[in-house]
Amino acid sequence: MSRYIARRLLLAIPVLIGASFFIFFLVYALPGDPVRALAGDRPLAPGVIAELRERYNLDDPVFVQYLKYVGGLLQGDLGIDFSGRPVSETIAQRIPVTAQLALTALVIEAVIGLIAGIVAGIRRGSYLDNLVLVSTTFLVSIPVFVLGFTLQYFLGVQIPLFPISGTNEGLYSYLLPGFVLATASMAYVARLLRTSLAENLRNDYVRTARAKGLPERMVIGKHTLRNSLIAVVTFIGADFGTLMGGAIVTEGVFNLPGVGRAVFDAVRSQEGTVVVGITTFLIFVYIFFNLVADVLYAALDPRIRYE
């Protein structure tokens, strides 16, 4: 297993280099003035432009620029906003809210997704199975911001069950945003578990377990479910990174003061450095959790081996 993990970590290096080069190339090396792109539509004073050119090493050769950029990234340098505050500071201050939101979503996704998946998977073609199939298709099709506004209106304004914005009510104020953020993944977890349960139930070891007289609860709970959960647990691990990124829309809709909301506001106030800096950070978070999930997969499934 350690061989696999080592190999997986090595494979992550070109992806990290590729992703950082991709972002760097887009932001700093494309024809066109990167300073202007970072400023958005705002006119900048000449002094500010000169300082930005100096700060982003725009007068160096492209390759040197890239190395300096990566060097900066490694030291946590994600740029500064217009008031001179490092983007990394904004992230450090706001990340607890986003992490809490992503965690809430993860728990909701796991609980509802697993229940729906088990119910649908053990009784293929039943009424409940079809209900799960139809409702997951619906959940996947509703864009997060549409669902967010709709639930906010009906469950926050019409029937005031949940707070509609901010984090004043502690954990409770994360429930509705967490649910909204979790919907697409929830549907995916349910379908994934349904398929893998149904596949595993056809295996010989299940027939053996039944033949030796185990109660159905044991056959499913102890033998089938455990094997079916491998793919689901891996997905949920990787999903934490996706949820952190998805927080841009959810935090925008529910006005939660996390890093996503910072991007949401920065797009509106045309603060390019903040948009690019935080998005870059979130992309690396995403890559990191994908890596974690792959390693987790190897740890859980003894069949995953190289050589």
Binding site: G32, F145, Y153, V249, V267, T279
Partner: protein, 290 residues
């Protein structure tokens, strides 16, 4: 894309079967009907409304739905029904451009990678890995932020860059599976060139899985376009897009719910149609998944 000339007898059997099953699937029939209406809406919106969506009167700002304006009026006092109808065009165009482009890239690169294993395959796989590392919406935000003008083409290009990898892998996998089959050997023995073997014998048989993926992806891309426009990094005014409309509605949700509900409902129904047609196609093509 229609491989009419390439459909041989064996394939007609498969597609005949699939067609029969699809005709019995309600989600396929309803989905294609809705898509047909939407396509018509995108092509000739004048068929659905005579009102110019840009003819506005601030005096009517945010008036609720009524007999003369079915969907009410928006913040600028424009007829909302006309706006929602005209909004279909940007959604459908972005969806089709992205998925059409992704299919072309997927067929070319997938065929190259699958047919000639070795360095070509490796290079393509590594490049795809890098793009796989990019999350969909976040990657699109970074790309789109670099454009001065953001129209349908720019949004489509950004989404295309993040979409081509999965269909490419699907085509590659099918090509690898077919490459050494007897009928390909037979074609080679008859002196067919590599190009002819790939285009006439291999790709037509590698198409099915990628078509399913493409249909579902149109829905996903339309949803992404709306999300990006809503965030303010996608299409910009004066473009007409459901995402933009919802973005504008967000400050008035409490008083003027119709501003959110109508474009939202159209968006959901559109995405849902493409996804269910894709689902139905997959069930028909691969009975094992059922």
């Amino acid at each position: 894309m229609a491989p009419a000339a390439a459909v041989n007898v064996a394939q007609a059997g498969l597609w005949g079967d699939v067609g029969r099953q699809l005709r019995r699937s309600p989600q396929f029939l309803i989905g294609t009907a809705v898509i047909a209406v939407l396509a018509l809406m995108a092509l000739v919106p004048q068929l659905f409304t005579r009102i110019d969506p840009r003819q506005c009167d601030l005096a009517r700002s945010r008036r609720p739905p009524s007999a003369e304006a079915w969907f009410g009026y928006d913040v600028q006092g424009c007829d909302y029904y006309a706006n929602v109808i005209y909004g279909a065009r940007s959604s459908i165009s972005v969806g089709l451009i992205v998925v059409g482009g992704a299919l072309v890239i997927a067929l070319v690169l997938g065929a190259i990678a699958g047919f000639w294993p070795g360095w070509r395959d490796n290079v393509i796989a590594r490049v795809a890995d890098v793009f796989y590392g990019m999350p969909f919406i976040l990657g699109a935000i970074i790309i789109l932020y670099q454009f001065d003008e953001r129209g349908v083409l720019q949004v489509a290009l950004a989404l295309l860059l993040l979409t081509w990898m999965t269909p490419m892998r699907l085509v590659r996998a099918s090509v690898v599976a077919i490459r050494d089959s007897d009928y390909v050997q037979a074609a080679r023995a008859l002196g067919a060139t590599d190009l002819r073997i790939i285009t006439r014998h291999i790709l037509p048989n590698a198409l099915a899985p990628v078509l399913v993926y493409a249909t579902i992806t149109i829905g996903v891309v339309i949803s992404a376009e709306a999300t990006l426009s809503f965030l303010g990094v996608g299409l910009r005014l004066p473009a007409i897009s459901w995402g933009l409309m919802i973005g504008e509605a967000q400050n008035y949700v409490r008083t003027s719910l119709h501003l959110l509900l109508f474009p939202g409902a159209f968006l959901v129904v559109t995405v849902l149609s493409f996804i269910s047609v894709g689902d139905a196609l997959r069930d028909a093509l691969d009975p094992k998944m059922r």
